[in-house]
Amino acid sequence: MPVADLLVGGILLGGVYALMACGLNLIFGVMRVINFAHGDILAIAALSTVSIAVGLKLPFWVAIVVVPIGCAAFGALIHPLILRRIEGAPLIMSLLATYALSTILVNVAILIWGGGYSGLPGVLSGSVRILGINVSISRLVSFACAIGVSLAVWWVLEYTRFGRAVRSVSAAPELASISGIAIERVRLATFALGTAMAGFAGVLVAPAFAIDPQLGSRFIIKAFAVIIVGGMGSYPGAILAALLLGVIEVFGSYLAGAVIGSAFLFLLMLAVLLVRPRGLLGAGVRV
């Protein structure tokens, strides 16, 4: 068994999961909403990237700039239209609303891009040899960017004024409101930031994976597994769990085939849910 190859492959795969799960986690922490549409935003971002690079023949960096901004704008639109209106409602309503949004996005994506697979051949192709292991450049770049952005957002949360506001809204919305934090504005900004992170993850996925409109549903369950294993609301937990699950998925796929290999993730998720529902690094979240 090529342990080193699989290990590196798994960690590189985990990078994108980390970026995606961090956005999901951020939204859950601040709004107590599980965004089922998160994966579909990623899929649409990836498909848009292909359209920009292949269809419009613009350079790849244009997509890196434009697509996350577009996703943030979409998030800023969705929040007042849907999520703010059901803030006080039972949890089931927000779950159903984002689940419905997810099916709408998948359908729209199929209408625009068709149901087939597409990819970005020629962007960041080739591979380099690091420590005797062949690593494809696209996966390496997407890993580096994903982890970089995840850590940057973490830094923003920990050390900036906005980050403190986000954390206080997440921990105690009433107290945050009393302290003069405009919680609705913070929630809007957080949701936009979360969707932008999903969008950026989508841009990074485009050169490294085959993408189709159903990509979102495959990624979202992995992101769910990541935030549950890492602990809902825990930022470092999500990054660590993402890398761990990336490695497990790659090893599982090698041993048992791709389909059953990805099922290992959910079995791990179910095991964590049952043994330690707060997750590996979670502090326990009130719901």
């Binding site: 309503m93 689940y99 419905a100 997810s102 099916t103 998948v106 369950i221 059953i260 179910l270 719901v287």
Partner: protein, 322 residues
């Protein structure tokens, strides 16, 4: 009681349901079978999702288990479809019992995500263990020549589900489930055995979907993982309950009737935007009508067949029984 007589409505509906398979076209029977299957799924979901208030995104998992258990029995051993459906129902209950004991310790979003993931695990297993399930190719069953027996079986199950929900709505058990929905810790502190009731409801709401899965496979004559564990089946079921009214007796019925017709029209005319339309319906229902058509109708008074009437009917039935 002014307006329409609900008993007369129910009587007419029963006569239509019995006569339909003898006078209706094949298309009408086929459409009715689909409607009734969804009706059963909606009533099952209503127990755990509407009354007990647990957001269950994994019901289609039991539907799929039933579909595969029934199809495999039918395919390998030639078991008749109704016996296969019975076996599927038992299999659904046997899977749901330990699963419920484990998963129902989770609350709110954790339960929702856990069950959602579980349905996907099952689909992955159905795809992956292709030596048993046939994988992506699926299993082809012998087509049935006459759909009428299937129609009557499904109609009977749907009727029983309606009756059980009505009994539930008028019982202490129903009130206990509503108490769990509103505040589980408070219910627990009042001495309601929440764990037992939740698991019981979970198992009960898994039995009929498993049987329906088996029957659906026979009805299609074919089953593969994306059909057995179809996420849009889940969404449609939940949309029906939500649209009609969660935690009500007539909600799933109204929702299933309305949405089945809408679905059929959409499928016939705009199949490419079918899913988006269902999504928009759910979204609009969540935003503007979260309590459903039945509650809306009872509030504005144009729907007389509401909860008060059912209460009085139940009271009369109770007196007659005692």
């Amino acid at each position: 009681m002014k307006g329409i007589n609900p008993l007369a409505v129910a009587g007419i509906a029963a006569i239509v349901a019995i006569v339909l398979p003898f006078v209706g076209s094949d298309y009408a029977i086929s459409f009715s079978i689909q409607l009734l299957i969804f009706l059963v799924l909606a009533y099952s979901w209503n127990w755990i999702g509407g009354y007990a208030g647990y957001t269950h995104f994994g019901q289609v998992g039991f539907f799929g288990i039933g579909a595969y258990v029934g199809s495999l029995l039918n395919f390998h051993y030639g078991v008749t479809w109704y016996l296969a459906a019975l076996a599927a129902a038992i299999a659904g209950a046997l899977v749901a019992l330990p699963l419920g004991g484990a998963m129902l310790r989770l609350k709110g979003p954790f339960f929702a995500v856990g069950m959602f993931g579980l349905a996907r695990v099952l689909e992955a297993f159905a795809l992956g263990f292709d030596s048993i399930t046939g994988g992506g190719t699926g299993i082809y069953l012998k087509p049935v020549s006459d759909l009428r027996p299937i129609y009557f079986a499904v109609a009977a199950v749907a009727f029983v589900m309606l009756l059980l929900t009505w009994k539930l709505d008028n019982s202490r058990l129903g009130l206990k489930l509503l108490a769990i929905r509103e505040d589980e810790s408070a219910a627990e502190s009042l001495g309601i055995p929440t764990t037992r009731l939740k698991i019981g409801t979970f198992v009960a709401s898994a039995i009929a979907p498993a049987a329906m899965g088996s029957i659906y496979a026979v009805y299609l004559g074919f089953i593969d993982p994306p059909t057995a564990f179809a996420p849009n089946m889940e969404l449609t079921t939940i949309a029906m309950v939500l649209l009609g009214g969660m935690g009500t007796v007539l909600g799933p019925l109204v929702g299933a009737l309305v949405l089945s017709v809408v679905n059929e029209v959409l499928w016939a005319n705009y199949p490419q935007v079918y899913l988006a339309c269902v999504g928009v319906i759910v979204l609009l229902a969540v935003l503007f009508m979260p309590r459903g058509i039945v509650n809306l109708g009872m509030k504005s008074g144009w729907l007389r067949i509401g909860r008060p009437l059912f209460r009085s009917l139940a009271a009369r039935a109770g007196q007659a029984a005692s």
